[in-house]
């Protein structure tokens, strides 16, 4: 597997992102409602998250300062395209969850190199249908209404 390592940007990315997000979360925690002393029962609602956030920031700073060399595996193109497909799934699932699942599965199968129609049909159509009917009939799960599920729900 290809790896990029060293003292370059790779070693900054994770700790700096963590510190940035933690600072935002800390600011957000200062906006929490405060309760009167009689109700707070030992701690204000913001106390514990702030304590944890300070610990996270301190640890991220430690990683930033002490871990001079980090090894980050280079993102495989297939991993990148699969992540892209996940985003496409999220958009399609807004139209219909099972449409999203079918299209994602078929596209993933195809992009990972299996071009057999049978395999694509199996993961894109048969598996989602089997799972839908299994959950619907055995577990009584009602899936969100959408373009395809409406065909069953009426």
């Amino acid at each position: 597997m290809t790896k990029s390592s060293g003292r370059g940007p790779a070693r900054w990315v994770a700790p700096v992102t963590i510190i940035g997000i933690s600072l935002l979360a800390f600011w957000q925690s200062t906006q929490f409602e405060r309760v009167p002393p009689i109700l707070k029962r030992g701690m204000q609602p913001s106390d514990f998250p702030q304590l944890v956030l300070l610990l996270i920031i301190a640890l991220a700073l430690y990683v930033l300062v002490k871990e001079k060399r980090v090894t980050v595996e280079k993102l495989h193109p297939k991993a990148l395209s699969s992540a892209g497909l996940l985003i496409a799934f999220a958009l399609l699932a807004e139209v219909d969850l099972f449409l999203g699942l079918g299209v994602f599965s078929a596209a993933l199968c195809l992009s990972w190199g299996d071009r057999r129609p049978g395999a694509i049909l199996f993961v894109g159509l048969v598996v989602p249908m089997l799972i839908f009917f299994f959950f619907d009939t055995v577990f009584d799960i009602r899936f969100p209404r959408g373009l395809l599920t409406n065909l069953w729900y009426g």
Binding site: R41, V72, H76
Partner: protein, 499 residues
């Protein structure tokens, strides 16, 4: 005694027996598939257990845990690819043995030592868990708080990542547990106006995301791997000479595995590594290790299966997960409204014993499944990744949705799939995060209760002997390896010169 009997009787139900058999087969299948392991399997199957009663639901999860842990050995021996990380050391001697045409003997030894290790650990579980639960009756909130802190500190040594990164990942999990309405004050925190988040971030979608979906992205990077199976004529149980050679190793590794399992957060992977190393250290023929030593297989497999029973001790008695898979089982118990801890042993003793007996049964069952179905299960590794992972994804998403029938859970699973993948790329293990999420709620509640109890004078916690004991253990878990390392580093040159 009554509880032990009623627990055993609960298992006599044909429905539960059938579930155990199916889950054993499913667990072996999951364990044999590279990329899927006991934790991922339990996380993916958790939503399926929601509609079940608590006993069958948790029995299914523990069965998956035991059988998947064993099954990693099948692929480790036959195709040099450990089905689970706990079987990585089994590859070292299992595959060379298989290449020499002794795959059957290697699998036989793996099955025998796994079964013995598993049974010994379940016996230890049956003895130790009730005792630990009785001891925990004396725990007040400060003791529970200190114990939870100790449990979290043990996350430092999970996997092969940096301890600081592990603690950071665990702290992130604890932070996630603060999302939602604060139970003590009813104030909303980090909900960003979404009503679906007011009850907090669910364990199930997060587990599905970090263990299932992130693994899909990891697998995308390994599509070029070619697996070649060693031919296996027949399964052969180890002979008398083998038993004479390995019985001490099996017993030693079973003890090691059980002990490692009992330690919070430490699971089968650590146990198998230590079990293997100790087998080599005590062996009369250490030079054979790595070239097909039967003791190596026994040492690794007895230890990793013994860790399963051990890991359930703190999980059931204290509510502190003993391993990553135990964390998923704990999440399953919470979803079913069960509260692990001392009260579980008094109020639902038959449930606890049903779990004990089912684990005992599974250890016997997978012996036969493993021995006589190994050839078949090894074939599942040849299911094309292009078919397996889209199917796993569909299960993951539907599973995440099914629990609360909420699309928010689907988005959470997706988001944590990507977060988990990014974390893994940058050297952060996702296991501490999952355990932190489970323990975070308990940590905050116990801290709040302690503050009320001690009149907001938190420093009084260290005046309580048990609390102080757990804090000392925490300090040792965090700083012990560092101090130990420096001590030995300083001594090493002296030793090497013989002075």
């Amino acid at each position: 005694m009554d509880a032990a009997l009623s627990g055993l009787l609960a298992l006599a139900d044909p429905y539960i027996l059938a579930l155990i058999v199916i889950a054993t087969l499913g667990g072996v299948l999951i364990g044999a598939l590279p990329g899927l392991n006991a934790t991922t399997g339990a996380a993916l199957l958790l939503p399926f257990t929601i509609t079940m009663d608590p006993i069958p639901a948790i029995v299914v999860l523990t069965t998956i845990y035991c059988s998947a842990t064993f099954a990693g050995a099948i692929t480790a021996i036959l195709i040099n690819t450990p089905g689970t990380s706990a079987s990585a050391t089994t590859c070292l001697d299992g595959y060379p043995l298989a290449q020499r045409g002794e795959a059957g003997r290697a699998l036989g030894m793996a099955a025998v030592s796994s079964t013995i290790g598993g049974i010994i650990s379940v016996i230890a579980l049956m003895l130790a868990a009730p005792m630990l639960a009785r001891a925990a009756y004396n725990f007040a909130p400060p003791e529970y708080f200190a114990l939870t802190v100790f449990g979290l500190s043990m996350l430092a040594s999970i996997g092969d990542g940096s301890p600081v990164k592990n603690i950071l990942s665990g702290a992130f999990g604890v932070l996630l547990a603060t999302v939602g309405v604060d139970l003590l004050t009813s104030v909303e925190r980090f909900t960003f106006g979404y009503n679906e988040l007011s009850e907090g971030i669910g364990f199930v979608p997060v587990m599905i995301g970090v263990f299932g979906i992130s693994e899909l992205l990891v697998q995308a990077g390994g599509l070029d791997t070619v697996r070649k199976q060693v031919s296996m004529k027949s399964i052969k149980l180890p002979g008398r000479a083998d038993y004479v050679k390995v019985w001490r190793t099996i017993l030693r590794s079973s003890g090691i595995g059980t002990f490692i399992g009992i330690l919070p957060a430490e699971g089968a992977t650590v146990a198998s590594m230590i079990g293997y190393n100790e087998a080599k250290r005590w062996s009369k023929t250490p030079e054979e290790f790595g070239n097909g030593a039967i003791e190596g297989i026994a040492g690794s497999e007895a230890a990793n299966n013994a860790a399963t029973g051990g890991a359930m001790v703190p999980t059931l008695a204290l509510g502190i997960p003993g391993s990553p898979t135990a964390a998923v089982i704990l999440a399953g118990m919470m979803v079913h409204g069960l509260r692990p801890g001392p009260s579980l042993f008094t109020e639902q003793a038959d449930f606890v014993y049903a779990i004990f007996w089912s684990m005992m049964l599974v250890n016997v069952l997978f012996f036969f499944v493993g021995l006589y179905g190994a050839k078949l299960f090894a074939r599942v590794t040849f299911i094309p990744t292009q078919i397996l992972w889209p199917t796993v994804f569909t299960f993951s998403i539907v599973g995440a949705y099914a629990l609360d029938q909420s699309m928010m859970d689907v988005w959470i699973a997706l988001a944590f799939g990507i977060i988990g993948f990014m974390m893994r790329r940058h050297g952060f293990s996702v296991v501490p995060m999952a355990i932190g999420l489970i323990l975070g709620g308990m940590l905050e509640t116990r801290l709040g209760q302690s503050m009320v109890m001690l009149d907001e004078q938190w420093w009084l916690m260290v005046t309580r002997p048990l609390t102080l004991f757990f804090f000392v253990l925490t300090a040792l878990a965090l700083f012990g390896p560092m101090i130990w390392g420096r001590f030995f580093k300083q001594r090493a040159p002296i030793d090497s010169t013989g002075e």
